[in-house]
């Protein structure tokens, strides 16, 4: 059985920010503790009043019609209906793509193409580096400063243990 966490002002504020000021939308577990806090602590009651005010402002703003007349709204709707009421494009029923889940249709890859191109470029660069040997100036410098050559560097890392024959 889950145990309710102790309710304090900080947690109460967090819950108000998470679920809003309507306690009926809260999960059942913390509601009783929240009600007790509201009745005993004036700071909690004040926090609830502020949250209610904020909720009322947002809800009022969202429910009110934005500027522009109702006729303009209707005209927009009519234009959309007219635009889509005529000849509709053919539906996609291709046998090769028919198996794709509909969830893929929700994504619009268009704005992502520069990122895709960058990713492909980096992958290509990594592939090229992987095919070439590591004759890079930095690596050569390290090897030289340790008094060996390129092959010496790999020996340091991969050489067998002289006694056991094991590789590190």
């Amino acid at each position: 059985m889950r145990k309710a966490l102790a309710m304090n002002i900080a947690r109460f504020r967090r819950l108000l920010d998470t679920y809003g000021s309507d306690l009926s939308r809260w999960p059942p577990l913390p509601v009783q503790a929240a009600r007790r806090l509201i009745s005993s602590d004036p700071v909690a009651a004040r926090e609830l009043a502020i949250a209610r005010h904020l909720d009322a402002l947002i809800a009022g703003y969202m429910q009110r019609e934005p500027t522009g007349t109702a006729q303009a709204r209707d005209a927009t709707a009519q234009r959309t209906l007219a635009a889509l009421g005529g000849a509709l494009p053919p539906q996609r029923r291709h046998w090769m793509t028919g198996w794709l889940p509909a969830v893929l249709l929700e994504f619009d890859f268009a704005p992502a193409w520069p990122r895709m191109a960058a990713l492909a470029g980096i992958a290509g660069l990594g592939f090229m580096v992987g095919l070439s040997d590591l004759n890079l100036p930095g690596v050569r410098g390290m090897a030289a400063s340790s008094g060996g050559t390129d092959s010496d560097l790999s020996m340091i890392v991969f050489d067998q243990d002289p006694l056991s024959g094991l590789r590190p």
């Binding site: 998470t18 019609e65 934005p66 509709l88 996609r92 889940p101 509909a102 969830v103 704005p111």
Partner: protein, 181 residues
């Protein structure tokens, strides 16, 4: 057919029946336009986005599977298209933010209300895209957090985090307006 469920209409649309598409379009057009208008902040973009969403609905209907409620899926398409459009034009002027009509009659009350709503509109417009979308889906559409999570393609706790941050930002922006007198 007018009273058919959204899912039944989608089955008919998948068979290429245009009357079913017309019914579903009329059913969702006002809400979709309102949602897109709130996210994008202007009518012209909202109109284009909703047309695009409805066209996708028609074109891809044969591949639609009822994994979630139709409303959730369609809102997800609309919200994704809106967010993509916002990413393409990230520097839209804040002056474009719509100001609601105030129904008040008294001049001083009207002025105060307009001022508060102007501040709120600017604060909502200044929120990061996904926080703004979460606020709009919660307050404009009245969706529960679980459905908002599906529309935004995230978890319920992800939506809760978005809402916490958004509400804190709005509270900070409105500041003294929210203080109880």
């Amino acid at each position: 057919m007018v009273e058919a469920s959204d899912e039944d209409l989608m089955v008919a649309i998948a068979r290429g029946e245009q009357p079913a598409f017309q019914i579903l379009m009329r059913r969702y057009l006002p809400r979709a336009l309102g949602l897109a208008r709130r996210i994008l902040g202007n009518d012209a973009d909202a109109e284009e986005v909703v047309q695009e969403a409805l066209l996708r609905l028609w074109v891809h209907a044969p591949r639609w599977r009822p994994a979630a409620a139709f409303r959730t899926w369609f809102y997800r398409v609309v919200v994704n298209l809106c967010l993509n459009r916002k990413r393409r034009a990230p520097f839209a002027a804040l002056d474009d933010v719509e100001e609601p009509i105030d129904p008040g009659t008294d001049a001083s009350v009207e002025f105060e209300t307009r001022q508060t709503e102007g501040m709120l509109a600017a604060a909502i417009a200044g929120l990061p895209e996904r926080q703004r979308a979460a606020i709009i889906l919660t307050y404009h559409e009245g969706l529960p957090n679980a459905e908002t999570a599906t529309v935004l393609g995230t978890s319920v706790s992800g939506v809760e985090t978005l809402l916490v941050r958004a509400r804190r930002s709005l509270r900070k922006a409105l500041g003294p307006v929210l203080e109880i007198k």
